[in-house]
Amino acid sequence: MFLQQLINGITLGAVYGLIALGYTMVYGIILLINFAHGEIFMAGAFVGLMMVTVFKMNIFLALILAMAFCMVLGVVVERVAYRPLRNSSRLSALISAIGVSIFLSTLALLIFGANAQGYPAQTFPVSQIHIGPAEISTLQLLILGLSAVLMIGLELIVHKTKIGKAMRATSQDYQTAALMGINVNRVISFTFGLGSSLAAAGGVLVGLYFNAVSWNMGLMAGLKAFAAAVLGGIGSIPGAMLGGLFLGIFEIMGVAAGLSSYRDAIAFAILVLVLLIKPTGLMGRKIQKKV
C-alpha cells in the first residue's frame, strides 16, 4: 500500500511544513531558533478547539480566529521576550525562547488540564474517497488543500508585496535594509505574526486530524518541524515546505515498515544526518555570518 502511505505521509508532511515555515522565516531574519514556536502551534490548536466547543463556531471561522489570535501572540512574544535581547548574545535570546515555551505550555496545562481533548463529532464531516487501491479522506484533502493555499499565499506575500520585499531584504542584510528606509522592527513583527498564524492553522488541522489537543502537543510537533526546517535548509521558505513533506513521508514510511515504536526518532535521526552530511540542508544558502 505504497500509495496509501504516500498520501498519509504527504498529509502529515504538509502540516510539518506549515509549522516549519515559522522557524525558517524567523531564523532567516534574526538568526533565532524560536523554540516557543511549537507552543504557538499548541495555542492555535486550543483557540480553534475552544471556538468550536465553547462558542459553537463553524470550524473554518474557528481556524481564522485561531490564526488571528496566534498572529497577535507571536508579535507579543517577540516584543516582550526577544526584542529587549536583540543586542545581547544569541544564546540569551535562545534561553528566553525556551522560557516562553515552558511558560506557554504550563499556562495551557493550568487552563485546560492535563488530558487531551477532542473535537465534537461532525465538526468536519469526514468521508473516504477511493483513488484506485488507496483512499483519501475529506479531512486529508482539507489539510492538503489548505496547506497548499497558505503556502502559495505566503510565496505571493514574500515575492510580490512591498512588505515581502522588505522581509527578503532584511533577511539578506538588515543594516542595509534600514538604510533603504525599511522599519526593521516592523518587518520582524510582521514575520513573527505571519509565521505564528501558519503554525496556528497547523495546530487546528492537527487537532482535527488526530482528534486530540493537549498542552504538550507543541513540544514534539515543534521539534519535528524544526528538524524539517533544517532538512530543507534553515532560512529557506521553499526548503521548509519541502523539508516538511520529506519528513512526513519518511515518518509514515518508517511506521509502515514496522518501525512504529521509533516513530518520533525518525525525524531526529534525519536531523542528525543532515547536520553531519549537509548542514545547509536541501535548499539552504551558505551560512553568512551577520555582523
Partner: protein
C-alpha cells in the same frame, strides 16, 4: 544643510569618535579623508543612525536627527551608499533599485527616477533581471549608487566608492559622483583614495584616530605639505 556638533561615539571601551564637528552646505561635495580605522565610516553611520552617538547632536535642515531611527533619517532625505556596496545579493537589479525607493509613495516619480538611473547606468538596465550577486564589482557599485539615488536624496553619503575597483572604473565612478552633484544632490564622500577625493570635492576634513585634525578647501588641503606627505604619498 547638515551640522554635526561635538559627536562622540564609543564601541565598548574604544572611543571611535571624539568630539567631532563638521558641516555640509547645500550643493557641496565634502570629502572625509583619513587612514583606515580613523572613524570615517563611523561618522556616516552615526548620521544614518545605524550607530548612536554617546554625546553631541546632528542637525539636518534645522531638524535634530540624532535619535531618529535609521528608516526615518532616510525619509528626511539622507541616503547612504555603504562601504563594500552591500547590494542585496539574492535580489534582482530591479528589486534592489525598488528597495532604494522603499520610503517613497509617489509611484510616478519613482518610475521617472528608475528611467533616469537606467540612463545614467545603461549596464544596469541590461542586467535588470539578474541577481545582484552576479554583477561585477564596478556594476555593484553602480547599483549601490543607483539604489541610493532612487530615494531622491537631498544628501548622499558615500562610503569608499572606489574600493576594490580598477583605476579606469574609479575614474568613471568619480565622474558620475560629480554629475550627481551637479544635478543638485549634496554629497559627503568618505575616501581612502585622498587624491581622487580632493580632486572633485569642494571642501574636506582630515580625520585621525577619531578626531578632526584639519579642514579646509580641497585645493588648499591638496597643497598642504602635511596632507601631501600623509595621504597623497609624497
Amino acid at each position: 544643510m547638515l551640522k554635526v556638533e561635538n559627536i562622540s561615539v564609543n564601541y565598548g571601551a574604544i572611543n571611535a569618535l571624539k568630539d567631532v564637528s563638521c558641516h555640509i552646505e547645500e550643493g557641496e561635495i565634502v570629502a572625509l579623508i583619513g587612514a583606515n580605522g580613523a572613524g570615517k565610516t563611523t561618522i556616516l553611520n552615526t548620521i544614518s543612525s545605524l550607530v548612536q552617538a554617546a554625546s553631541g547632536r546632528i542637525v539636518f535642515n534645522g531638524c535634530d536627527i540624532t535619535k531618529m531611527p535609521p528608516h526615518d533619517v532616510v525619509k528626511m532625505g539622507i541616503s547612504q551608499v555603504p562601504e563594500g556596496r552591500r547590494v542585496f545579493p539574492e535580489m534582482s537589479v530591479m528589486e534592489n533599485l525598488e528597495l532604494g525607493a522603499y520610503a517613497r509613495s509617489d509611484r510616478e516619480g519613482v518610475r521617472e527616477d528608475m528611467t533616469s538611473v537606467f540612463k545614467r547606468f545603461p549596464r544596469l538596465e541590461e542586467r535588470k533581471k539578474q541577481y545582484a550577486k552576479t554583477l561585477s564589482g564596478g556594476e555593484q557599485q553602480m547599483l549601490a549608487m543607483g539604489r541610493a539615488l532612487m530615494a531622491r536624496p537631498k544628501l548622499m553619503l558615500m562610503d569608499e566608492p572606489s574600493m576594490g575597483l580598477a583605476p579606469i572604473l574609479v575614474e568613471e565612478i568619480f565622474n558620475i559622483i560629480t554629475e550627481i552633484n551637479q544635478t543638485g544632490t549634496t554629497i559627503l564622500l568618505v575616501e581612502q583614495n585622498a587624491h581622487m577625493a580632493l580632486s572633485i570635492a569642494h571642501r574636506a576634513y582630515v580625520l585621525e584616530t577619531g578626531e578632526i585634525v584639519l579642514h579646509g578647501d580641497a585645493d588648499e588641503l591638496a597643497a598642504n605639505p602635511e596632507v601631501r606627505k600623509a595621504y597623497l604619498g609624497e
